[in-house]
Assembly symmetry: C3
Homo-oligomer: 155 residues x 3
């Protein structure tokens, strides 16, 4: 049975995916104290990395925004896999956002709003997080965006 | 009434600014447990982003150092906005520093010392933090520096 | 007397170095609650930075992997310096990995597996951490890799 948060995700027209596996010798998520931390999530849909390239030069901003939302869905899937139910989240604490950026592309905040707005829509007040927004030159697997989340949970 | 830490900032010739608003759908600061986390702060003075460009190629190191200190003042303003008084800070835990860097500029530690030295001057022992120092190719709004702080507070 | 974790490191053919000093006005490690946080560690062996250059263009992947393991040894040395004994580590929580990357080098996960695999070998289940893997254009001192660790400790 899915909880209220997951129902809200579906109401918004999305679906929580299966939690992607780690791309290396690490784990995608863990809990320490009442904090759940995810590894950096890439825009995978199933086994396919759906948005590759540098935002602003090789791919459009709109694709970057979609990539950011998909990363976020994957991060939420990780948090669910860790604690069993997204309704246990009391606060999204932090979003670390990295955008693979073409030369002179400086609109990373706009891209990452695809993630931040989605978290606000899904969690309401609990979704209002802190954020770092960085443009990087090279990303694993040529992914357009990488996002890691820290969440506070009550269980 | 301002506390001892804020008095020290003024004694050093600086002034705690109004806490800058977030550049997107997120919050600039929040508290989880006894940790206060800020979003990445840019070198804003009021509404103006005062240091733009790549350090080492487009702007001088001295400007980068000033930018780092302004980011830090903004981060401290966020922490004050969150907990009411900087005297509640028991330790600056972590500084995440990103420097928009020109080609072959590898002196990021020198730039970020503008932040680290300032924290040491303001907080003494409590200001001795851990740090990551990264050079990135593209920064939101072409900002020269971005800094996020984690602080431990007692309240 | 060294503990079981340190014995394991030696059994794997490595030796915990002296904890490197900070490259600036900050500290290399601190403890907040039951979390130990390190500053970003560079591939120093003693005073020498042993792997410089951009992975994939200026230096080989194998060197990047070695650099990642040396950064990790240095981070573990910092954690030991902080809590006295690596046996107190109950979980490696997070590895923040930055690889100075040549143009179009997107194999950062492979490089950072040099760190992640080492942590798994040394700590077993307790070493299974979350990770961010980022390719950056410019690194302090031209270091090939920078790694910071967060660890949960029991003391």
């Amino acid at each position: 049975m899915s909880g209220q948060v997951e129902a809200k995700i579906e109401q918004l027209g999305h679906r929580l995916p299966a939690a992607p596996e780690a791309v290396g010798f690490y784990v995608p998520v863990l809990k320490t104290g009442n904090l759940v931390v995810t590894s950096g999530q890439l825009p995978f849909m199933g086994k396919e990395l759906v948005f590759k390239g540098k935002v602003g030069s090789e791919i459009h901003e709109e694709d970057g925004i979609n990539a950011a939302r998909i990363c976020t869905l994957n991060a939420l899937a990780q948090i669910k896999a860790c604690v069993g139910d997204l309704d246990k989240v009391t606060r999204i604490v932090r979003l670390e956002g990295f955008v693979q950026s073409g030369e002179k592309f400086r609109n990373q905040p706009h891209i990452l709003n695809g993630a931040s707005q989605f978290l606000a829509d899904v969690f309401g007040e609990k979704g209002r997080h802190t954020r770092t927004a960085i443009g990087v030159s090279e990303m694993p697997l040529n992914a357009a965006v990488q996002i890691a989340l820290w969440a506070e949970v009550d269980e």
